[in-house]
């Protein structure tokens, strides 16, 4: 737009220039011509009128001499042939009007009554003239003439002619200037267009055509050279720009990383509720320690050098000072917990004071930087925890002692139970037997039967005592776990049972390599009870079967002992593992009801679980595991709660 405007301006300027030049020349020429022409015209007019006046003068000399007014009048009347003459008059020697002439009555008033001095006056419309009339060098009168001057018309005409010429001249100039413009501006326009294109397309390979050998041609040449220079420079610039952009990118990345790291550190420090400080290579605090001063209430003067140690608790000061000197000497990181004066709170607070030396590449310490972390609450909490722990420990010890005491009491109780309760039972049984043996002949059958009942009762009580002791023993015994082969134990136990009742035929099946991890004695108690139960409750079957194996439930494996014996009603399953609870008649299947309670206690001590499934007269299956499970709380089976 600007270029076009500039160009149109050039075109305009050229045109205006040419036109102005032409117009100026024409104006000067015209002015000179008009002035000259009008002067000339006037001169000729005056000359003509003078000549006319002279002619009149000449013709009227005689009439004047003879005062022949009529002749003079006629002479003047001849002027009728000259229509431009409006009025004329002849005056006598005394200046009185002698004869007069007028072209129309309107001009009568123009004729002066008296003669005036000779003169010629020309104005725009008229020319007025007084002229003396000579006769042999003697003035005998004067003549007056008034004629149309025609100056105005003449001026108009001349101006009209001049203007016509000027118009033609200007038109010619315009044409000429157009041609010139075409010659001058079109290459410039071309260059301008090219420049525009270059600017828009950023294509520096474009070149203008040189069509002329003049200054414009030179301009185009220069423009082309400039283009190639710009092209070169631009590509260089672009390359350096891209390099620069890359550098800027790298730098901004680095700055970003730096600022992130800085932010992280700042956040870290703020989060740590720690304050930072700086010290010189010798470990003397530098002047500005705003954070330190606001914590300790010190001033730049008081913390300067080793003055900062004055804020340390007097009891800690010497040690800190000593350790700090040592750290400074060895240039090693320093960390110490001590009490620091906290001015806002007016108290000493525990802080974690840590420092690291900044070491230059030459291995020299440049300065020290460090943080002070207020750990007062933590320390107090720790102390509190320690105190509580100690208290707890103390209480645990007390309880343990109490427990141990109770345990000892229990032990001595169970000792006396086993020892002292059994002795009378033995007496009851033994002397009942003695009675039967020694006085059998004096007793009737009923008495003997009663004595048998006494003996049975005593013996049963003996077994109860034994089982109870066993139950308490498995609860108190220390658990020593080790890998066990349950298959082997089972085989051994079944073998023992078989030997105890060789007359029975029981089909037994044991899965090999049933491995577990537990206390061998206690696990043996479990298997002992389960197998002797199975053995006992299959006693009334001819096709007794006992099976020991392993099954999977929900990804966990369980051992099981299965028999096809008497079984039990599942509605009593919850009483199965309760001590002294029995689901069978003692006469049918004798027992104390402590065995399964003992089994469950052992299994619980291992962290496992046990439950049973049974159907009356079809048999029972006892499932158990010796390993703890997070599913223990699930209680999927009614018996697991036991």
């Amino acid at each position: 737009m600007n270029a076009l405007f500039a160009l149109s301006s050039i075109r305009h300027k050229l045109l205006v220039g040419v036109l102005l030049t032409t117009a100026t020349a024409l104006a000067i020429l015209g002015a000179i011509f008009i002035i000259y022409d009008l002067g000339d015209y006037r001169d000729r007019l005056v000359e003509e009128l003078t000549t006319q006046a002279d002619l009149i003068s000449l013709s009227s000399t005689a009439a004047l001499e003879f005062e022949d007014r009529e002749t003079a009048k006629q002479t003047l009347a001849s002027l009728r042939l000259r229509p431009e003459i409006l009025a004329a008059a002849i005056y006598d020697r005394n200046g009185n009007l002698f004869a007069r002439y007028y072209a129309s009555p309107a001009h009568i008033r123009e004729i002066p009554v008296r003669a005036e001095q000779p003169s010629i006056g020309v104005d725009a419309d008229t020319i007025r003239l007084f002229r003396p009339i000579y006769n042999d060098r003697e003035i005998i009168g004067s003549v007056f003439m008034l004629a149309q001057s025609g100056v105005k018309e003449r001026t108009f005409r001349v101006l009209l002619i001049f203007l016509s010429i000027a118009i033609v001249a200007l038109a010619a100039s315009t044409l000429l200037s157009s041609w010139l413009q075409a010659r001058i501006t079109s290459p410039i326009m071309e260059v301008t267009e090219l420049a525009r294109q270059v600017v828009n397309e950023r294509n520096y390979n474009l070149r203008a055509n040189r069509t002329t050998d003049d200054e414009i041609g030179f301009l185009i040449e220069a423009f082309n050279q400039m283009l190639s220079q710009i092209g070169l420079r631009t590509s260089e610039l672009e390359r350096s720009n891209s390099e620069l952009a890359e550098q800027i990118h790298e730098r901004s990345q680095a700055e970003k990383a730096l600022s992130e790291s800085e932010y992280r550190h700042r956040t870290l420090i703020t989060t740590l509720s720690a304050l930072t400080w700086r010290a010189d290579a010798h470990g003397d605090f530098s002047a500005t320690q705003t954070a330190w001063d606001s914590f300790t209430g010190q001033t730049p003067r008081s913390h300067a050098g080793r003055g900062w140690l004055q804020a340390v608790h007097p009891d800690d000061r010497e040690l800190v000072s000593q350790l700090w000197n040592q750290a400074c000497e060895e240039s090693v990181a320093f960390k110490q917990v001590f009490r620091l004066w906290y001015a806002p709170g007016g108290e000493y607070r525990y802080v974690n004071f840590s420092a690291a030396p900044l070491i230059d590449p030459g291995g020299q310490t440049m300065e020290w930087m460090g943080i002070v972390d207020d750990i007062h609450e933590r320390m107090q909490a720790t102390e509190e925890v320690q105190r509580l722990n100690a208290e707890l420990e103390h209480r645990v010890q007390e309880r343990t002692a109490e427990l141990e005491n109770a345990n000892r009491e229990l032990e001595s109780f169970s000792y006396s139970v086993s020892h002292d309760l059994r002795a009378p039972l033995r007496s009851i049984d033994g002397f009942s037997q003695a009675l039967i043996e020694d006085y059998g002949d004096k007793l009737d059958e009923e008495a003997k039967e009663y004595l048998d009942r006494v003996r049975n009762g005593a013996q049963r009580m003996g077994r109860l005592i034994d089982d109870m002791l066993n139950l308490s023993r498995v609860s108190r015994m220390e658990l020593v776990r080790r890998p066990l082969n349950l298959s082997e134990v089972a085989a051994e136990l079944l073998n023992e049972l078989r030997q105890s009742e060789p007359q029975r035929s029981v089909y037994t099946e044991i899965e090999p390599e049933l491995l577990a991890y537990g206390d061998s004695r206690l696990v043996r108690v479990v298997l002992e009870n389960l197998f002797s139960n199975a053995w006992k409750y299959t006693a009334k079957r001819d096709d007794a079967k006992i099976r020991f194996g392993q099954v999977e439930f929900e990804g966990r494996s369980y051992f099981f002992v299965r028999d096809n014996g008497a079984g039990f009603d599942m509605k009593y399953a919850d009483r199965l593992f309760t001590p002294f609870q029995r689901l069978h008649d003692n006469r049918e299947f004798p027992g104390t009801g402590v065995g399964l309670a003992t089994v469950q206690r052992v299994i619980r001590r291992h962290g496992g679980r046990i439950w049973a499934e049974s159907e009356l007269d079809k048999g029972s299956t006892f499932y158990f595991t010796l390993t703890p499970s997070e599913e223990l709380h699930h209680d999927k089976t009614p018996n697991s709660a036991g």
Binding site: S414, Y415, S418, H419, D420, R422, A423, P424, L425, R426, S427, D429, G430, F431, S432, Q433, A434, R455, A458, Q459, M461, G462, R463, D466, L469, R473
Partner: protein, 153 residues
Amino acid sequence: MTRRPILLVEDNPDDEALALRAFKKCNISNELWIARDGEEALNLLLGSDTETSEYRHLPAVVLLDLNLPKISGLEVLRRIRNDPHTKTLPVVILTSSKHEEDLIAGYQLGANSYVRKPVDFNEFARAVSQLGMYWLLLNELPEQHDALKSEHT
């Protein structure tokens, strides 16, 4: 069968009677010494009491209860084993207790056997009979005992 006596250390008279009955029942006719507490037993064996020095020759076997007045059975056993004279004397712990600690302590102190008295008299009689059978008939004692025996008889 050795004719040497059997020493029964038993504080409970019922048990003593039952033991005697059991011996009789299985035809053990050896002399039966009875000590009713630990002190008495030690006097019999180690002869610290002059009155009982006649017992200086040793029994074939000691049936020792643990729960005894004055000196406990385990202490009696410890002293028996500490004395060179009675060091090798067969001692069978015959007690109501099946206490694990008692068992361990008994064997550690050098008991030769540990037998629990059953409540059932028939079983008790059987146990006594088997003990007699074993210690009086089957078991061989070193020469020292015979030598000592002949010395004192």
